[in-house]
Amino acid sequence: MTAEPVTAAEALRAAAGPGQAAIEIRGLRKTYGQIEAVRGLDLTVRRGEVFALLGPNGAGKTTTVEILEGHRDRDAGEISVLGHDPARHARQLREQIGIVLQSTGVEEYLTVREEVALYAGYYPHPRDVAETIELVGLTEQRDRRVQKLSGGQRRRLDLAVALAGDPELLFLDEPTTGFDPSARRHAWDTVRGLAKLGKTIFLTTHFMDEAQALADRVAVMADGRIVAEGTPDTIGARGERHSVIRFHLPEGVALPAGMPPQRRGADGAMELATEDPTRVLNALTSWALDAETPLDRLEVVRPSLEDVYLELTGGNRSDQDAA
């Protein structure tokens, strides 16, 4: 599925203009020895959108992101990131991007303010240091040394350092791994705030609720390719899928005839998959009232992004839990 070189070049030229794509990838390939980490990847990220790249470990996410950031060379394909080829114009590109990697350190003996100022000094048009610190909510800790920060505060400092250069495009790699729920909400609010400022955000995450909460568009990567792409609500034809009606029946009670196909859930719940939940629910509850049978823990569930993700990536849960 390698793109024709001519069309790829045309696509890149079209993407270079303002208001166009922030990231344009055509036919990207990368091989490590015998292993094909990325095999013919096509992807477009529009300016100003929050884009989430999902996929299990080993899918090629990190390789792809590191090629976009200019950390790694590619074997084949055309790439434009904010109009630059990361392999050729790394410095110009890095003036316009911010990167938050998992578990990257900072100088332990500097204060929060010194640290942000140090990094701000690397960029031609940095954001105001105090403003950056305010944006991530570290104003109270601004004169505290990094060694005295909590784990969550360090992650916020990571973000502050990535924002120091006032980037157009922000790469966030698993930004909330290890956060407690309230810290996650806070981080999400920060990301939404950045999106409101018109920044493009490229997110990789294992958390489906994070993608659902933040992303305008998501793509699922497996085995070095994009296997699905769309909005969190429609990806993998999620919007058209069956709803599931779940409930617990007392022992020995059987459902009447005319109900949709039934199956038993993991917790012993009865599950009915249907395209028409209104009608089925009506029939079900009428029957239950007549028969005086309680429908314990009754709920109607739409397939979650996680369900779609697991189906698309082969459903290997242990794979993603290993992260």
Partner: protein, 256 residues
Amino acid sequence: MNGLALAIRQIGYENRAFWRNPAAAFFTFAFPLLFMVIFNVLFGGGSADAPPGQRAADFFTPGIIAFSVITATYTNIAMMVTIARDAGILKRVRGTPLPPWAYLAGRIGHSALLALLLTVIVAAFGAVFYGVAVPWDQLLLLVLVLVVGAAAFCALGLALTGFIPNADASPAIVNASILPLLFVSNVFIQMQDAPAWIDTLSKVFPVRHFADALMSIYSPGIAGGAFRWEDLGILAAWGIGGLLVALRTFSWEPRR
């Protein structure tokens, strides 16, 4: 800002961070002086009657200067860069517009400042407490040897990082690579009575040539006589070799 200005700014931040860790800073400076006192007490007993230029202190002052410069450059760079690499600082810096060389220049520049400060302190200590005269008449040559030595050991320290698998292994590997040489290179112990083979072997390595060059300027009456340009040449060759190895093996990413 251009690269040079960024590199100088980088030195400033390195320096600030260094002094914020007072325990580490204290021992960086206390160690060489402590060694100097101990060695003079242990080996200086019979030398009080020796003529100036041939006392134990005449040997240990340039020896401890060599030790100080090596500690401030080779040891310091190999350890700090490995720690920064494993903490992900190097990778983070690589994702910014800061030119990679400017970051390393900051580290090297800070090491050079430490080496200079230590040299001045040790020389002053030797002059004040042991009456070892500073060779003012050969100051230019002394500075040249110090600069070439510091540069060579910075390059070798960078080269070594490529062979250190992780930060935890760093102190062990750095010490294993340098301590034995310090004992057989006219730094801690005089080599004139050493077996010939070990004397010959030590002349393969850069520490010996650095120490001998300093010694010949400081105290030509001890251990080897006049200054030889070949010492400087071999030292420089090791430095260039180190640089070439560093260029091939240096890694910006943690090795886990």
